[in-house]
């Protein structure tokens, strides 16, 4: 049982982090909320009159808005799906006895260290470019027409690039989880005649639940604000095919310099992020408290 003294000491120890984060969140947030009610375009300096909800109305009725919402969902969902399933399969594989496991692990983890900008540039130019990229060369040597990734399957291309960056993360966490699995339990099940699938479904997967939750939580945090990969590959296009919410806010506030509308978008994104956060909290709470 903690004493009163240690409680107040604890509070004292937490407070710097809380105060700093509050400041980091609240000061820009207050400014953003304030700006979101002004007509404020950086290119038209003036008195920035108060315009009420006008910016919100403009942002929500933006023809790109609904597309951006859907793209955000597809992007986050697609990457989560690929990295989680891929990660489980990879972890299963790496958990098998083999030679040179250390070296293979080093190769698999590498993309996690690569700057998102660099990763996206490399994929865009050296691989997905239909004329000089490797995929283009391969298609040509097979006599097929090269796939034009960023115009025919733009969103999928970005999902693939981002998945490449995050697959190592998922694999490693899930692999660590596999390694802590009770082998005797598995062997007992095998002796009882449980099929591989049943062993996977009823023993391994439940064991992985916590790890999967963590993978989803951490990745969602980073995936919601995917930006650099879109900026260097498609600039949100063609059309709005790869514009996510973050990119749409970027377009409003830093390409059109409409700080008022960009701020309104920011506020909307913050609200949505918090809804996701609450949702995740419930999920995490259930899985991590045990």
């Amino acid at each position: 049982m903690a004493t009163k003294a240690s409680r107040s000491a604890a509070r004292l120890m937490i407070s710097p982090a809380v105060v700093l984060l509050l400041g980091w969140m609240l000061i820009p947030l207050c400014m953003t909320v304030y700006f979101s009610f002004l007509r404020f375009n950086l290119l038209n300096p003036g008195d920035n009159p108060f315009v009420g909800w006008e910016n919100y109305r403009w942002f929500v009725t933006d023809p790109s808005f609904s597309a951006a919402m859907i793209n955000t969902l597809v992007l986050v969902g697609g990457v989560l799906l690929i990295t989680t399933i891929g990660g489980i399969m990879f972890a299963l594989l790496l958990d098998q006895p083999m030679w040179g496991q250390g070296l293979i692990r080093i190769m698999v983890i590498a993309p996690f260290f690569v700057m998102p900008t660099v990763g996206a540039l490399v994929w865009k130019n050296m691989f997905m470019n239909p004329v000089n990229g490797i995929f283009g060369h391969i298609a040509q040597s097979l006599g097929a027409a090269p796939i034009d990734f960023f115009s025919s399957i733009p969103l999928l291309s970005i999902v693939l690039i981002v998945s490449w960056q995050w697959l190592p993360f998922a694999t490693l966490i899930l692999l660590t989880a596999f390694q802590s699995l009770d082998q005797e339990q598995l062997e007992a099940a095998e002796m009882d005649g449980a099929s591989w699938f049943n062993r996977f479904w009823y023993i391994m997967l439940p064991h992985l639940a916590r790890a999967i939750t963590v993978v989803i939580l951490i990745q969602t945090i980073f995936l919601l604000s995917i930006f650099a990969e879109i900026l260097v590959t498609t600039n949100g296009g063609p059309g709005v095919a790869t514009t996510n919410l973050t990119y749409l806010i970027y377009v409003s506030s830093l390409l059109q310099y409409d700080v008022g509308m960009g701020s309104a978008g920011g506020v909307i994104a913050i609200i949505l992020a918090n809804i996701v956060a609450i949702f995740l909290m419930r999920m995490i709470g259930k899985n991590l408290d045990a």
Partner: protein
């Protein structure tokens, strides 16, 4: 008891995992190869590239001539280390308190901290830019160290929290019974046990800070610009540019990649965020 595994199965496993691992690693290997090729060779078909005999370091020279690598590199190191150290100073006490003196709202505070990471930075660039201008932090390392620290603080707190929580409370109780003060408790009992967790937190934070590309690009001009700004000047083609882009990429990611490889065991241990019991 582990069963003996026939070598044939081991070989198949090795082959399959090795192939997949190689595919994942291939893009990085490829830019390493291209960075030592001439521009003309670099756009050829993959096999032609491999068998073209010319190996050259001219791309590295061209990149260095255009942008001062060492200045950007130094800035990256300062920013990554600075924000990590500052972050630890703030996060270790907080995580310690949350782990050992849990209060009713601990979990909520933790989740709230994580949720601040979901705010899109692009939405608050202009407010932050104005604040930085007014306090004179634009294009300074100090300013960026603070921003990067705040960016990663939630993750650090959470990682440390999950790690600390696994330290059995009884040990602390025992120390306390022996009359250890709070300070002694932290220094002599907790710290040694927490070192592995702190180490992997440090590693992750360095990686995240090194690769952060929005704030580092938008709040700097030249004095504080790290390697993310260095790479930004190669992001659109300038004639034939694959070799130069590769060389610049290799220069930008090599330090962190090498650090990551050497410390991967350590890093992975902490990365699990308490996911493995």
């Amino acid at each position: 008891m582990a069963r003996a595994v026939p070598n044939s199965r081991k070989a198949i496993n090795t082959a399959v995992a090795g192939t997949l691992g190689f595919i994942i690693f291939f893009p990085i290997l490829w830019i390493l190869i291209l960075s030592f090729k001439t521009e003309g060779d670099a756009i050829k078909a993959p096999l032609q590239v491999l068998f073209s005999t010319g190996w050259t370091t001219e791309s590295f020279g061209a990149v260095q001539e255009r942008s001062d690598y060492f200045k950007h590199f130094t800035n990256s190191v300062v920013l990554a280390l600075g924000s990590t150290i500052l972050g630890l100073l703030v996060a270790v006490p907080a995580a310690w308190a949350m782990a050992f003196v849990p209060a009713k709202h601990t979990k909520n505070v933790l989740m709230w901290m994580l949720s601040t990471k979901m705010l899109p930075p692009v939405g608050v660039l202009v407010p932050i830019y104005l604040i930085f201008r007014d306090v004179g932090l634009l294009d300074t390392r100090t300013g960026l160290v603070i921003v990067l620290m705040l960016m990663n603080l939630p993750i650090i707190v959470w990682m440390l929290y999950t790690y600390f929580r696994e330290i059995p409370g009884e040990i602390l109780e025992a120390a306390r019974m022996d009359g250890a003060s709070l300070r002694e408790e932290v220094i002599y009992v907790l710290t040694p046990m927490a070192i592995p967790g702190i180490a992997s937190t440090v590693l992750l934070n360095i990686i995240l800070a090194w690769n952060e590309a929005f704030w580092t690009l938008n709040l700097t001009a030249s004095n504080a610009a790290p390697l993310t700004a260095f790479i930004a000047s190669y992001s659109s083609p300038e004639g034939l540019f694959y070799a130069k882009l590769s060389a610049a990429s290799v220069m930008a990611i090599a330090p962190i990649l090498i650090m990551g490889w050497f410390s991967q065991k350590q890093l992975v241990r902490g990365l699990t965020f308490g996911a493995v019991k």
